[in-house]
């Protein structure tokens, strides 16, 4: 077998229906001994897995999985989008990721919208593309709007350490996830019992980055991968910890997450960025969560070069309930705009734009009402487990 096929064959087992059915059975058995359990994940890719594979419909009534703020586009401050739009209209070439270019700022204008009015906006797949574009057009001025978590930020740090082309600066809206989990764990309006922690952000940060927050809240934290079996195992691990009253940090995603994490990437981040208080749109100001350039990298920092404020304040259109959706308090169908004025082709709020936004994921999987119960054969299995 070709080596790549071998890896695929391993991964395909993480979608095995027979294994999934057995795991669901275990989940039901374990949940029987528990009262209401509310689990939060903080990763848009987990939300995709859960929604796409209909995992919520397989869970017992007393087990709820909520989507927390795991979409970088959604939590990027509106004021950062506003200043990027301002730069693009002033003749600076603004580069960013595709979904980031469609998120609207406080004036309900996105970078994509401003391109239609003559703003200079380009979409890139990675920061490496931005570096190449700037290097091959030395007479033009470029700013990269850098959104994303610790998964994404290391490429920026790597190129900054190598030296950027002089005509390229970075507007860093990068955020660090562990302090956000710490804040959500203490949040009284969420009442979360346990966390499924992000697989790829934690591949970079390592499990140990969450240790101080785990020690403080004492709630189960399971680090999970992104196949349906990964998520089902993670839910089972959480329930077992709760049943045994033995909360701990447990790793389901052993093929990628380690205790230490990616040390090279961590070193690059520590060398380039200060971790400071940062605003998460819709959520709060979270201490030590914003990756801002250290003073010695002033020459690449678009905030210093153009005298821009750090992202502050908030704005969502009236009636839109984006903030509650981003924080995980309500579900998309609870918002009066969802799939009426706000759709994937006419997004109003950022959670309908970001590829990892809860609204976008629910919309693309055609979820129009809450509390859908599974009508497939899997429900028969649920009933068996219930009896």
């Amino acid at each position: 077998m070709e080596p790549l096929d071998r890896v695929r064959a391993v991964l395909s087992k993480y979608r095995d229906p027979a294994l999934a059915r057995k795991l669901v059975q275990k989940i039901w058995e374990t949940a029987r001994d528990l009262s209401r359990v509310r689990i939060m994940h903080v990763c848009g890719t987990h939300e995709w897995t859960i929604t796409h594979w209909g995992i919520r419909a397989l869970l017992p009534d007393n087990v709820e999985v909520r989507a927390g703020p795991g979409c970088p586009v959604c939590i990027t401050p509106a004021s950062d989008i506003d200043v990027a739009v301002g730069l693009a209209l002033d003749g600076v070439h603004v580069l960013t990721y595709g979904d980031m270019s469609r998120a609207k700022g406080s004036r309900m204008i996105s970078l994509e919208d401003c391109a239609a009015e003559g703003g200079r906006v380009g979409v890139v797949y990675s920061f490496m593309d931005a570096v190449r574009i700037a290097a091959s057009n030395p007479d033009k001025e470029y700013v990269f709007l850098g959104a994303g978590f610790e998964t994404t930020a290391p490429t920026v740090a790597y190129f900054v350490l190598k030296g950027l082309p002089r005509n390229l600066k970075v507007l860093s809206a990068h955020r660090y996830v562990p302090p956000a989990v710490g804040l959500l764990a203490e949040s009284e309006d969420l009442e979360i019992d346990a966390f499924i922690n992000p697989g790829h952000a934690s591949t970079v940060s390592g499990m140990r980055a969450y240790k101080p927050y785990f020690d403080k809240c004492g709630k189960p934290m399971v680090f999970a991968g992104f196949e349906p079996i990964d998520v089902l195992v993670a839910i089972y691990m959480v329930l077992r910890q709760l049943r045994d009253r033995a909360p701990r940090m447990e790793n389901e995603y052993v093929r990628s997450v380690t205790w230490e994490g990616n040390l090279k990437a961590q070193r690059a981040l520590q060398e380039v960025f200060d971790f400071e208080d940062g605003y998460w749109r819709g959520v709060a100001i979270i201490s030590e969560s914003a990756m801002n350039f250290k003073e010695k990298f002033s020459q690449v920092d678009a905030r210093r070069a153009y005298g821009l404020e750090h992202g502050r304040g908030d704005y969502f259109p009236s009636e839109a309930r984006c903030a509650e959706i981003i924080k995980g308090i309500i579900d998309p169908p609870d918002c009066p705009l969802y799939m009426k004025t706000c759709t994937p082709s006419t997004p109003v709020g950022p959670a309908m734009v970001g590829l990892e936004g809860t609204c976008r994921i629910w919309a693309q999987n055609r979820i129009l009402v809450k509390d859908i119960r599974c009508m497939s054969g899997a429900c028969g299995l649920n009933r068996e487990a219930r009896s």
Partner: protein
Amino acid sequence: MCYAIPGKVVEIRGDVGVVDFGNGVRREVILAMVDAKVGDYVLVHAGYAIKVLDEKGALEILQAIEDAISLAGKDGGQCL
């Protein structure tokens, strides 16, 4: 945005390598954050490799899951 896909390293030129994602898709990927060799499988996110994929780990946990849920009795699964 934290989506990452596995691919095979087929060529390395300094910090940059070529990764084969199958179906004829090959891309230049930054390998500076991992210790990858030609033939390794890496998880690639936004143009750089975040991890050399642990295939053995993937198989081991699968085996652990299978063992755990096939144990007799409702309290099976201690090895998971």
